[in-house]
């Protein structure tokens, strides 16, 4: 995994709350056996019309959204299924961070393991971001700090170990395997 130190980008806004992983990537696309290429199917049922043509009114299809790496969403983003295809699709599309007032547990965990930053902010910061699509924001991982173009700056919760892994491009599996002796001892102690 590439180290992630900073995300500096304009935003795209999807203001709905409770955007679930079925919207992020519908189940019919989960028959894939790889992680690649899911960006095309990101938000498929919102992004494309029935005839398959992109819906020009959908935020991600607008010209000003091109190149945006930060998705601002309403409360409780990523609820629902455990499909890691959701962060895979967001990353493949080009997103590097998601900002919301609340992010669902499994989606959050899956995102961190793939280098997609879950950024949880207060209501006022969220309100401003929802009202100002395209805003140029700066996310500094070292300080766990989000800075708006207004100069307002807020910190966000980021678990210490996840931050360490993200900033150093470390795969958590490496750390877990370094504890294999402990795992073996644990198994021996409970004889199984």
């Amino acid at each position: 995994m590439e180290p992630v130190l900073r995300v500096h980008s304009k935003t795209v806004v999807l203001a709905s709350s409770n955007i679930d992983t079925d919207q992020i990537i519908p189940a019919r696309f989960l028959t894939t056996t790889t992680k690649q290429g899911l960006g095309r199917q990101l938000f498929a049922d919102w992004r494309y019309r029935a005839d398959g043509a992109p819906d020009p009114d959908f935020a991600l299809n607008r010209p000003e959204a091109r190149g945006a790496a930060v998705l601002v969403a309403g409360r409780n983003f990523g609820c629902g299924s455990s499909r890691e295809h959701a962060p895979w699709a967001l990353l493949d599309f080009g997103f590097r961070a998601v900002i919301s007032t609340e992010i669902a547990d499994i989606f959050r965990s899956n995102s961190l393991k793939n280098g997609l930053l879950p950024v949880v902010v207060d209501d006022a910061t969220s309100r401003w971001l929802l009202d100002n699509p395209g805003a140029l924001v700066d996310i500094d991982l070292g300080a766990a700090r989000l800075t708006l173009p207004t100069g307002v700056s807020v910190t966000f919760p980021l678990e210490a170990f996840a931050r360490h892994c993200l900033m150093n491009g470390i795969d958590e599996l490496g750390y877990l395997r370094s504890r294999l002796k402990d795992i073996e001892r644990f198994e021996a102690a409970r004889s199984g």
Binding site: A15, S16, S17, N18, D20, D22, Q23, P26, A27, R28, L30, T31, T32, T33, T34, K35, D45, A50, G74, R75, N76, C79, G80, S81, S82, R83, E84, P87, E102, A104, D105, I106, S109, N110, K113, N114, E159, A160, F161, H164, E172, L173, Y175, L176, R177, R179, L180, D182, I183, F186, E187
Partner: protein
């Protein structure tokens, strides 16, 4: 020792390394369930790193999500219709063989929805840690296990180490006292809980369902309750094991036997929250006030009693949901039209659920123009339902009776609802497009689903008991 919760006891017993400010806990995993959709990429990681599945004896595989439910495709000579699904099924067969993982394959008599078959086998046991790349892993909490859904990266972690890195979640007591009235089920109970605390009310928390109404539930019903914990945002929901749990497990094929059973029972009896133990938060529900529930929107928290009307007005999300559903604020739910009825899923695909459906459907017919699809949660349940005569009742009523699988809950296998159609479903999610592009899902109990299939309109099952 200080009073501890059930969750605390199970968590602590599986801490290989306790968490610190800088590092999460290393949590040991007793049982790893896998299926065809969320495992292929994890097997690829093992292959890339040259690693084995460390504990195949603690790993169990089946196929449920993308598998067909048509008998011809499962047992006949008709190939699986969806190419991508066929590829995924074959991939799991290859992966399981290569890595030495036990697989209940497509034609295995023990196959079924992963969260249905593990309890049936007796591999789900009190006090265990159980994970699966599926959010409804919370189901197994009904046995007093700590069971939660994980992503595919974590599936790889468990393959390679039999452990996970986890921060300790907070606890949430869901206290349900009183008796459910006839016609009001475990499904209605959990929908009411979600309606009360909201779809993110449990984020970062593990539920413990407690109280006389929970104690009175069968294991099938307890699984329905724990199954939908994730719909309130909680990764896990637990119920302390008791005599109901032990009676269920006693004769299961892989439950402990003889002296081992006695030892297990002694351990399992200690898996209760100590008097005076503190929860981080709690909610109280009076079961005697509950009615059959039905969702009207596009998340499981948008739910009301079946005789009630949709709220008159709400926020933008409410408006968007109602537009999608083709409903209006203030509409009554009773009498609304029905196109498809689905009875099944890891929420309501067990024998008790099929018994409830049979109770309503006996000597009645599905209304003209309505499709009723009944999909048992496992092949074992299919055989039991056939032996009990339920399958004959379903077929006589005009329902379709299929092979087991996730089926129309998420429509991955081609069992879908057409755009704009109303689906009365016993599954767990009414998200936009969940059962098919443009499909409109209303979540209910098996009683309400069967009653609505007969009437051809949304119906109160209490009139037909």
């Amino acid at each position: 020792m200080a009073a501890r919760t059930l969750f605390d006891k199970v968590w602590t017993a599986h801490e290989v390394v306790a968490e610190t400010a800088d590092t999460p806990a290393v949590l040991y995993i007793d049982l790893h369930l896998i299926h065809e959709v969320t495992s292929p990429q994890a097997f690829s990681v093992l292959r890339d790193l040259g690693l084995p599945v460390r504990r195949p004896d603690r790993t169990l595989a089946t196929m449920d999500h993308s598998i067909p439910t048509s008998t011809e495709q499962v047992f006949g000579n008709v190939p699986i219709k969806l190419d991508a699904a066929a590829k995924q099924v074959r991939q799991l067969e290859r992966n399981a063989a290569e890595f030495g993982v036990e697989l209940f394959g497509m034609r295995d008599a023990r196959r079924g929805i992963v969260h249905v078959i593990s309890p049936e086998l007796g591999t789900t046991q009190p006090g265990m840690t159980i994970v699966c790349g599926d959010s409804h892993t919370s189901t197994h909490g009904a046995f007093g296990a700590l069971a939660f859904g994980i992503g595919t990266t974590e599936v790889g972690h468990v393959f390679a180490t039999q452990a996970l890195l986890q921060r300790k979640p907070k606890t949430f007591a869901v206290n349900v006292e009183g008796r459910l009235h006839p016609g009001v089920t475990a499904k209605d109970l959990i929908l009411a809980v979600i309606g009360k605390i909201g779809v993110s009310g449990g984020t970062g928390r593990v539920f413990e369902y407690r109280g006389s109404a929970i104690r009175a539930l069968s294991m099938d019903e307890r699984m329905t309750v724990c199954n939908m914990s994730i719909e309130a945002g909680a990764r896990a929901g637990m119920i302390a094991p008791d005599e109901v749990t032990f009676a269920y497990l006693m004769d299961k094929p892989r439950a402990p036997r003889g002296a081992e059973w006695d030892g297990a029972l002694a351990r399992w009896r200690s898996l209760v929250t100590d008097p005076g133990a503190d929860f981080d938060s709690s909610v109280d529900i009076d079961a005697s006030l509950l009615e059959p529930m039905i969702t009207y929107g596009t998340n499981p928290g948008m739910v009301i009693p079946i005789g009630a009307s949709i709220p008159a007005a709400g926020d933008e999300v409410f408006d968007k949901a109602l537009r999608y559903m083709g409903f209006h604020g203030g509409d009554a739910m009773l009498g609304k039209p029905v196109d498809v009825v689905f009875i099944g899923s890891c929420t309501n695909g067990r024998l008790g659920d099929l018994e409830a459906a049979a109770h309503i459907l006996k000597d009645r017919k599905v209304a003209p123009g309505v499709r009723l699809l009944i999909v048992p949660g496992s092949q074992s349940i299919k055989r039991e339902a056939e032996a009990a005569g339920y399958a004959d009742i379903f077929k006589a009523a005009g329902a379709e009776w299929a092979e087991s699988g996730c089926s129309m809950c998420l429509g991955m296998n081609g069992d879908t609802v057409a755009a704009g159609q109303y689906s009365i479903s016993t599954s767990n999610r009414n998200f936009e497009g969940r059962q098919g592009v443009g499909a409109r899902t209303l979540l209910v109990s098996p009683f309400t689903a069967a009653a609505s299939a007969v009437r051809g309109r949304i119906a109160d099952p209490r009139e037909m008991l």
